[in-house]
Symmetry: C2
DNA sequence: CAGTGGTCTAGACCACTGG
DNA sequence: CAGTGGTCTAGACCACTGC
């Protein structure tokens, strides 16, 4: 096993590194560094959009070589937790400032171009989690949750409804969330979650199916009942694989499609 | 600009590397190495499943350090073109030997478990490419193509049809492809394409929509006409981003879902 | 045991950013 | 110009595989 590193003491001199022979469970130094940096991110030591210390700085703190820090940061950048910018520094990834309005929305219009969609909030209320929602959000049935529904409408003069989203959030994390604040906020919703509530989505899992529109949905999406819709159930996670959002979307794929890349 | 490397001469002594100052378009050495290795892969110098030369070997051939070769190989491994195996070597990725039967099939049963599905070939014929197919396969309308259709049926005693695939392949690349050879071949179809026709899929793009089953499809999938189906249009590419397969799948998502991970 | 990939180091130099 | 990330090197040593 390589040397063990200690957590850095930001305002203190570097700490010692113990050299130790290989143990039963081998964990490379750079993985340990990665873990330490991840914990700092999780603790909010560096806020989204801010720069983290330079590689040489971190190397000195952790008492390892720059190359080792580099490899740790490389992986965190590959995981989209950090963003490297040559000549400037390494920054905590953020949803707020990025140009891609919808990082997780894979819906594309058939005629390339315009990614912009108008939002219309339908309702936003505090309630108790139904059993199925509670299970997915990893909380107890009946716990406080925020439920909100909204429409996304295609850009342009017509502005036809394309997406109906139903979003469930843990009430404990989103205390002051109201319809007004949602309506007022410009920019992506995940950006607001980040800056207003300190909740950063880093990963999501989706289950996609086709189903027929029920009467209520059909009316909202301006299609006939029974119309085939794409059902996208997305569970989003923050640090530590903690689920923090359940989003059930119904997409009208007449003039849009869900784009995916396989490698 | 770093030194320029020359293609290796497998059976010859290493070639010289010219040191040159930075030019207008900067390309790191490891990128050049990556390009050279990619070309060798493309040319079929090393076949899928085989080991490529060791890092030290390649470093000697290219007259660069092991670290530089390492970085090139790291990226190729991240792109799923190579597979590293500690203590054994680096191997050309293959569809044939991998346990994951369907590398690109994201369909999962609602009750976890069994990924296995039975195949049933419906038809396989040589014909001329319709305009839309030709456009996507980057060939001329009317060019020879192979069209085949098949069903995937859920495992178990019932064996209900779940997927109806319609597959289009360029005729020039798949000369001896017949229904018999397809039926006889065990293992994934992409494995057969690789070992029998030397065509290796490395990447794919999918467009997903929901649509209503027409009469013919409904009958094949044993659902009612109008039943909502997931439509998955997949375009697969080989080396050099050359499209070599168009696959139009219709999925019954009553007891299965399309799984996706977002990062 | 030799050969492979994997980790780690120390140092040199390059490319990019901004004051 | 100083400071940042990016490339490249040479060498040491470790972990894993298979003979």
């Amino acid at each position: 096993m390589p040397a063990d590193v200690s957590p850095p003491n930001p305002a203190a001199p570097p700490e010692a590194v113990d050299a130790a022979p290989a143990g039963p469970s081998f964990s490379p130094l750079y993985q340990q560094i990665k873990g330490l940096i991840t914990r700092e991110l999780q603790a909010g030591v560096w806020k989204p959009g801010e720069a983290i210390p330079s590689e040489l700085d971190l190397a000195a703190r952790f008492k390892v070589s720059q190359g080792t820090v580099r490899k740790a940061i490389d992986e965190l950048a590959a995981d989209n937790l950090l963003v490297r910018r040559q000549g400037k520094g390494t920054f905590v990834a953020t949803h707020a400032e990025q140009q891609i309005q919808y990082r997780f929305l894979r819906l594309m219009p058939d005629d390339g171009g315009g990614r912009g969609m108008a939002r219309r909030l339908l309702d936003c209320r505090r309630t108790r989690a139904p059993a199925d929602v509670a299970r997915m959000l990893d909380c107890k049935s009946g716990d406080a949750v925020v439920q909100l529904r909204r429409l996304l409408l295609s850009d342009g003069p017509a502005g036809k409804p394309v997406v109906l989203d139903e979003i469930w959030l843990p009430g404990a994390l989103f205390k002051g969330l109201t319809a007004e604040r949602l309506a007022d906020y410009k920019g992506p919703m995940y950006g607001m979650f980040e800056t207003e509530f300190g909740v950063r989505m880093i990963r999501a899992e989706e289950k996609i199916r086709a189903l027929a529109a029920d009467a209520a949905t059909a009316s909202l999406l301006a299609v006939a009942p029974g119309f085939p819709l794409l059902s996208v159930e997305r569970l989003s996670f923050t640090y530590g694989d903690k689920p923090v959002e359940l989003r059930r979307g119904l997409y009208n794929t007449e003039q849009h499609f869900y784009r995916n890349e396989l490698n």
